[in-house]
């Protein structure tokens, strides 16, 4: 080859090389100098993740500082789908399968959760309360599990197990409806929200402010550097009025009572409720509902099994039975007694002779065949004489009984800070009419409506009481013509006077009514939360006693009724005699409420000490027979716990009523 040729060719070659390098350099200029902002943004999106630090919810303590609900840091496993997709892993299904195997989940379930995620760029939470050994296994396989993120978040823990479960309620992820309603309060999907009980009522206090952590992550979504942390602010703590000792005594005793009743052949005796109030303030000392459930099962992952057990079992452990209304039976008799005394239709000294029944068109039996003989008011309460109250009820009339019941808060919501409270029913004309109306045929319903309309107009124009009375009785006649049961009859008054008929009250209402008798007529609004305290210990809300009503009852009347209740626990034939031995003097009233086609409910209400009352209780054991026998031990255990006495346990005292 000629030297010149080579030189020429290599010169051309050099030009080509220069051209190539110019192209490369201009590309670099374009990318690094002109498009630097764009690529920097892309890089930031690549590596920056805002990780939410979930704030712990406020804790809950009883009146003595015993922790009822706390928080426990648990591991959660989430899948960061963006990281998984960009990790270069060819088969993302393989990662899901591998993770599913470790978590003991169905791969399809994971896929489903991923598909349901609304904000696709946020990690999908797959499991909470993940045990350390599983966390360790994931950590060991981190390289094969790109996009799998392990976090720590605080979940509810319950140092006292199922104690107070229904009152506290539970916390779960906010539902779409709740989210819609609370959007302006800064909730976002996936946040926790109090679903029932105090967790729900005090949601705004209990919930903390989530913090955040800006982290740099690697391609697997694993954090490699902290860029900044906003610390979470824990929620506010609640100090309850509940006394953990009384609460525990109530729950344990209810369980024992149910077992005992089952043993005695009451096959449906599987539920019950108990309430204790401070008669001087309305503060709730205990509110128990049996059966209970383990609330830990409701925080974190909820298996179908657990769900069915808590929500769908025939005994519905999720219900707070202290707020459900039941037939009160004889626990109602003090209302009738007070109505009689206040209406001056009877004096405490007046007596009747009880042959064991009362006859008015038909025979109304006393619970005791052969009767109680000569009884006055105190004795009638002591032995729970039905015949006495049949007659007294008729004498007083249902309207006055209804009004007296309402004076003591019966038939209306107490206003306690819990959702789902029953208002109950006070037997009377209006209640009966409303209850029966629903069962009429549609033709009859139409007729009734027409009559209502007509008389309402007339009544509005009526002048004077006399004219009104006439109109009312005329209306009553017309309604009677449509259906006999639409009108109030004397036998309605008779059975209502012993707490049967349409009467329905919750244990909370019964306890509050007894508390009002005990404290001299002041009806308080029951409350569960004494104060709300922020994480630094500053009190931000204090609940003071709220008086709802001063019952229009003379002190003398109340004293008579209290004396009757005191007698109930005394020899020789008080219906709750035998309980409360060695206690400060206790006053009580048993109830055995008849339920159609079932065994009777067992009830007891009471207060103590008799001469200077502090605490009132109301107990029901469903379908468990005699009130004294089955509900008495529960009240006894609760009072023992309150007064610091040893728990008397189960006694085989057979109480007749």
């Amino acid at each position: 080859m000629e030297k010149k040729l080579v030189e020429r060719r290599m010169r051309v070659f050099l030009y080509v090389v220069i051209f190539i390098f110019l192209v490369l350099v201009s590309r670099l200029v374009y990318m690094q100098l002109l498009q630097n902002d764009r690529f920097s943004t892309l890089a930031r999106e690549n590596r920056m993740r805002l990780v939410t630090i979930i704030a712990p919810r406020g804790e809950v303590y009883d009146r003595n500082g015993v922790k009822i609900v706390g928080n426990q840091p648990v591991y959660t496993v989430s899948l960061d789908t963006v990281s998984l997709a960009s990790s270069g892993q060819e088969d993302t299904g393989e990662v899901v399968r591998r993770l599913a195997a470790i978590l003991d989940m169905d791969p399809q379930e994971i896929q489903q959760k991923v598909d349901q995620q609304e904000r696709f760029y946020e990690p999908v939470k797959l499991a909470t309360r993940v045990p350390l050994e599983i966390v360790t296994r994931i950590e060991e396989q981190r390289m094969e599990l790109p996009g799998v993120v392990i976090d720590i978040e605080p979940l509810r823990e319950y140092p006292n197990g199922s104690l107070l479960a229904q009152v506290m309620g539970y916390v779960r992820q906010i539902s779409p409806e709740q989210l819609e309603k609370n959007k302006d309060k800064g909730y976002k999907s996936g946040d926790l929200f109090g679903q029932s009980g105090l967790e729900n009522t005090y949601e705004q206090y209990l919930r903390g402010q989530d913090g955040g952590r800006q982290v740099e992550v690697n391609t697997g979504g694993m954090p490699v550097r902290d860029l900044g942390v906003k610390e979470p602010v824990p929620g506010n703590n609640l100090v309850l009025t509940i006394d953990q000792k009384v609460q525990k005594a109530a729950e344990d005793a209810l369980a024992r009572a149910s077992q005992e009743a089952l043993k005695q052949g009451y096959n449906e005796a599987r539920a019950g409720a108990a309430v204790a109030l401070d008669v001087r303030t309305g503060a709730v000392l205990a509110m128990a509902s049996y059966p209970g459930y383990d609330p830990v099962k409701l925080s974190g992952y909820l298996s179908q099994n657990d769900y069915n057990e808590i929500f769908n079992s025939p005994w519905k452990p999720i219900l707070n039975r202290a707020l459900l209304s039941y037939v009160p039976g004889s626990t109602f008799k003090m209302i009738v007694a007070m109505a009689g005394l206040e209406a001056n239709v009877i004096t405490p000294q007046d007596t009747i002779s009880d042959p064991g029944y009362f006859f008015l068109g038909t025979r109304f039996n006393d619970w005791k065949p052969g009767g109680h003989g000569i009884v006055n008011m105190v004795r009638a309460i002591k032995v729970s004489c039905d015949t006495y109250f049949y007659q007294l009820g008729l004498k007083v009339g249902i309207d006055k009984i209804t009004r007296m019941a309402e004076e003591f808060g019966l038939g209306g919501k107490t206003g306690i800070e819990l959702p789902g409270e029953d208002a109950g029913v006070v037997a009377g004309y209006d209640a009966k009419y409303q209850l029966r109306e629903d069962f009429l045929s549609s033709a009859a319903q139409k007729k009734v409506k027409e009559i209502e309309q007509r008389y309402n107009d007339l009544l509005a124009k009526a002048i004077g009481d006399e004219q009104r009375k006439q109109l009312l009785s005329k209306r009553s006649d017309e309604l009677l013509a449509v259906d006999w049961e639409l009108a109030w009859h004397e036998y309605d008054t008779i059975i209502s006077a012993i707490g049967q008929g349409d009467n329905r009250y919750s244990m909370l209402q019964l306890a509050n009514y007894v508390a009002t008798i005990a404290n001299g007529g002041t009806l308080y609004k029951p409350f569960l939360v004494q104060r709300v305290v922020d994480p630094n210990g500053k009190v931000i809300k204090e609940n003071n006693p709220v008086v709802v009503n001063y019952a229009k009852v003379s002190p003398k009347t109340l004293a008579i009724v209290r004396e009757g209740m005191r007698e109930v626990t005394l020899p020789s034939d008080g219906t709750a005699y035998g309980f409360f031995a060695g206690f400060p003097p206790v006053a009580a009233k048993t109830g055995t409420a008849e339920v159609k086609d079932h065994d009777n409910h067992a009830l007891i209400v009471g207060f103590a000490p008799y001469d200077n009352p502090e605490i009132a209780v109301a107990v029901i054991v469903e379908f468990a027979g005699h009130g004294g026998t089955m509900a008495g031990p529960v009240a006894e255990s609760m009072l023992a716990a309150y007064f610091g006495l040893p728990d008397p346990g189960i006694k085989s005292i057979s109480s007749p009523e």
Partner: protein
């Protein structure tokens, strides 16, 4: 000794120094690329205690081996190689066949042979061997290369090894061999118009072929026969629009461009690249190591590295011109073609203007076979340079 000292006087120190700097920078960036990223501990986790220097140490071993080979080659009379080209050519073919028969697979290709615990990549050595053989071939024939017919023997010469390499498959190296062939033909006096026509024709035909294949697949559900598997084809053309498949085929290209682009003028600082240390960059110590330079040392760093390569190539061109015989001229022409093509395709790939073919950045990327081949080539260059003229001693 006398001869030696004279020889050293004629060493191309500019070339040597540039190469040394490239290798040194390479070691630093291999360290950066392979340094394990420490994860923030999630309570209870333990960081892995891997030796962050393990890859750098290995590469240093290869550099040492490479320099040994370089000095060996340097002391030979390169003219003597002429006598062994037939043997070399056959050895090369045997190695390539052996790779197909007994090779080790990784990343979807079978390119490696294991010898004594180390993996060698025969296709790397192929390049230099073929340069030497082809230089001998051309210089001994001394025929005119004006018509297509004149070029056919050359095509046959390269065709056999290229087909074997495509079988692995290693498209990148096959393309490098083509570049070497055309470069050497050009320098040896082949009709430049003819060469350009051939290259353009082949490129146009390939484009039409691929275009038709894709169009038919998308619109008619049928495909033309292709020597490439679908994923290979995808990888080859994805650089045209990586965002159409940002998580799969386009991922490498996008992440590499993000790395270089966010580097800006000064870079994010050595060992500070988030793309590199967050492992977003794929195979960052080998094919995509230039992206690490772009991210961590920015435009300044990338420009410096390119300048070093330019100096190397420029010195090679001078050596080519000054070589004392056709054999030497053609060898250096082959080497300079190889280097240029490597730099163009590798850097072009990392910044998204060249298809992803997976060829390393010479003397910079992690990898022993490539380092040894390049340093052996450097030895040849220095050898040829040293004996450039019939100068009086």
């Amino acid at each position: 000794m006398l001869i030696q000292s004279r020889l050293f006087k004629k060493l191309d120190y500019t070339l040597l120094a540039s190469v040394a700097m490239i290798i040194l920078l390479g070691l630093i960036f291999i360290y950066s690329a392979t340094k394990p990223t420490e994860l923030l501990p999630v309570a209870g986790s333990v960081a892995k205690n891997a030796d962050p220097f393990s890859d750098v140490k290995r590469q240093m071993l290869w550099v040492f081996v490479g320099f040994s080979v370089m000095f060996t080659v340097f002391y030979l009379y390169y003219e003597d190689l002429m006598k062994h080209v037939r043997f070399l050519y056959v050895i090369n073919l045997i190695m390539l066949v052996a790779v197909i028969k007994f090779g080790i697979s990784d990343l979807g290709a079978q390119r490696w042979i294991e010898i004594g615990g180390f993996n060698f990549q025969p296709s790397e050595f192929s390049k230099l061997i073929l340069i030497i053989c082809f230089a001998a071939f051309l210089s001994s024939r001394k025929k005119k290369l004006d018509r297509l017919r004149d070029l056919l023997p050359s095509f046959a010469f390269f065709g056999v090894p290229i087909l074997l390499i495509l079988k692995q498959p290693d498209l990148g190296t096959a393309l490098v061999l083509l570049a070497i062939m055309f470069g050497m033909l050009f320098v040896s006096g082949a009709n430049p118009r003819l060469l350009i026509i051939i290259i353009v024709t082949v490129l146009v035909m390939l484009s039409v072929w691929i275009g038709a294949h894709l169009w038919l697949e998308a619109n008619r559900g049928v495909t033309l026969w292709m020597p490439l598997k679908d994923y290979q084809l995808n990888r080859l053309i994805i650089f045209l629009d990586p965002w159409q498949d940002p998580t799969d085929a386009g991922y490498n290209v996008i992440q590499s461009q993000i790395a270089i682009g966010q580097g800006g003028f000064w870079g994010r600082g050595l060992f500070q690249g988030s793309q590199t240390h967050g492992d977003f960059l794929p195979i960052q110590e080998t094919d995509f190591i230039f992206s690490v330079v772009g991210e961590e040392l920015g435009f300044i760093g990338a420009l410096t590295l390119l300048t070093l390569y330019f100096v190397v190539i420029y010195r090679c061109i001078l050596i080519t011109i000054n070589a004392k015989d056709d054999f030497g001229t053609l060898i250096t022409a082959g080497i300079v073609s190889m280097l240029t093509f490597h730099v163009l395709v590798n850097v072009g790939m990392t910044c998204g203007i060249m298809p992803v073919t997976g060829i390393p950045l010479p003397m910079f990327s992690y990898g022993g076979s490539s380092m040894i081949t390049n340093l052996a080539a450097l030895g040849l260059l220095l050898n040829i340079n040293m004996r450039r003229q019939k100068i009086l001693f």
